[in-house]
């Protein structure tokens, strides 16, 4: 009888704690940021393009041939989703072993050329303490960037100065310049991305 009483008390306390937790968790939910980015296998050849990197040096996408390239579309004043994408890429970068690092490149392409000059991109990379030895942050003028966004299927809508709504795409490109995997939304799972990178690296 005593056991039943104790067990009942434990259940009542547990239910009360649960109810209180639910009642107090009134913070708003974020529809994109809270979900792991869905992953899709795709086959989209990406044509060559030219942009400018965070040092102000011209960058050609064709210079990445032979490398597996993780590309993301972000902007530096983004207050929610982009920081998650960049942090996720950084986690992938840090997980690569020495040999893999030789064969993998990282690109962050801005969706807000109005703000993101090479200097601002460099500061952004610095705040994240990104290893820039195999990671380029890219910008250009609007006319140069628009076809690049379109080639990847990224739509960009300027809402206000420094506030841009855009497709949250991270894409994995094989050594031949073809998009093979697309991750949509915030927080692409670094483990899945690593797995996909290693699968592409293993191919002849």
């Amino acid at each position: 009888m005593k056991k039943i009483f104790v067990s009942s008390v434990v259940w009542v306390v547990a239910l009360l704690v649960g109810a209180l937790t639910l009642a107090s968790s009134h913070e708003p939910k974020h529809p994109v940021a809270e979900k792991a980015a869905p992953r899709r296998q795709v086959q989209v050849p990406i044509k060559d393009f030219s942009l400018t990197d965070h040092t102000g040096t011209p960058f050609r996408f064709s210079s990445m041939r032979g490398k597996v390239v993780l590309v993301a579309f972000v902007y530096t004043t983004c207050p929610d989703v982009c920081p998650l994408i960049t942090a996720s890429m950084q986690s992938v970068q840090r997980s690569l072993n020495g040999r893999e690092r030789e064969s993998v490149r990282f690109l962050s392409i801005t969706t807000d050329p109005e703000i993101d000059s090479p200097d601002i991109l460099k500061s952004y990379a610095g705040r994240y303490e990104v290893d820039l030895s195999n990671w380029s942050f890219l910008t250009g003028d609007l006319k140069t960037l628009q076809p690049v966004w379109k080639a990847f299927g990224v739509k960009v809508e300027r809402k206000a100065r420094g506030l841009v709504n855009h497709t949250a795409l991270t894409a994995l490109i094989d050594g031949g310049g073809t998009m093979r995997f697309a991750y949509f939304g915030a927080s692409p799972d670094p483990q899945k991305v690593l797995q996909d990178i290693r699968a592409l690296l293993a191919r002849p």
């Binding site: 913070e27 708003p28 809270e34 795709v42 920081p83 942090a87 994240y128 809402k159 420094g162 506030l163």
Partner: protein, 119 residues
């Protein structure tokens, strides 16, 4: 002033400035509680963090005018002292979630995105 906070701060800092906004569960770092940071800093120090960013927090100076930065300073101080109820937040919902949510444009020939497959 409130819109600025709703658009650019709330995701991480939350309705009460406790660093428990909706994005934080996915962040690799802990967002500081305004009650520990803002309350301990003067206006010049707060303005500097907003303008120059810190860690993964964006640097807002390229996007905002000095007057907007000043409004943001005022608002984070208000939030750190008083917080805000959920009802206050709700009126800004469409603005807050205006970022990075455009679906993939199916210009690439994928009317129906392929199912997930192994590598």
């Amino acid at each position: 002033m409130e819109i600025l906070y709703a658009q650019r701060c709330l995701g991480c800092h939350g309705t009460s400035g406790r660093g428990d906004g909706p994005v934080t569960s996915a962040l690799p770092v802990r967002v500081p509680d305004f009650h520990d940071t803002v309350k301990a800093k003067n206006v010049v120090q707060i303005r500097k963090v907003i303008k120059d960013g810190k860690g993964i927090m964006p640097a807002f100076s390229p996007a905002l005018t000095n007057s907007e930065v000043q409004d943001m300073v005022r608002m984070v101080r208000v939030v750190s002292q008083q917080g805000r109820e959920i009802a206050w937040w709700e009126k800004f919902e469409p603005l807050v979630w205006a970022h990075c949510s455009v679906p993939w444009e199916f210009v690439l020939g994928y009317d129906q995105p392929p199912q997930e497959k192994g590598p």
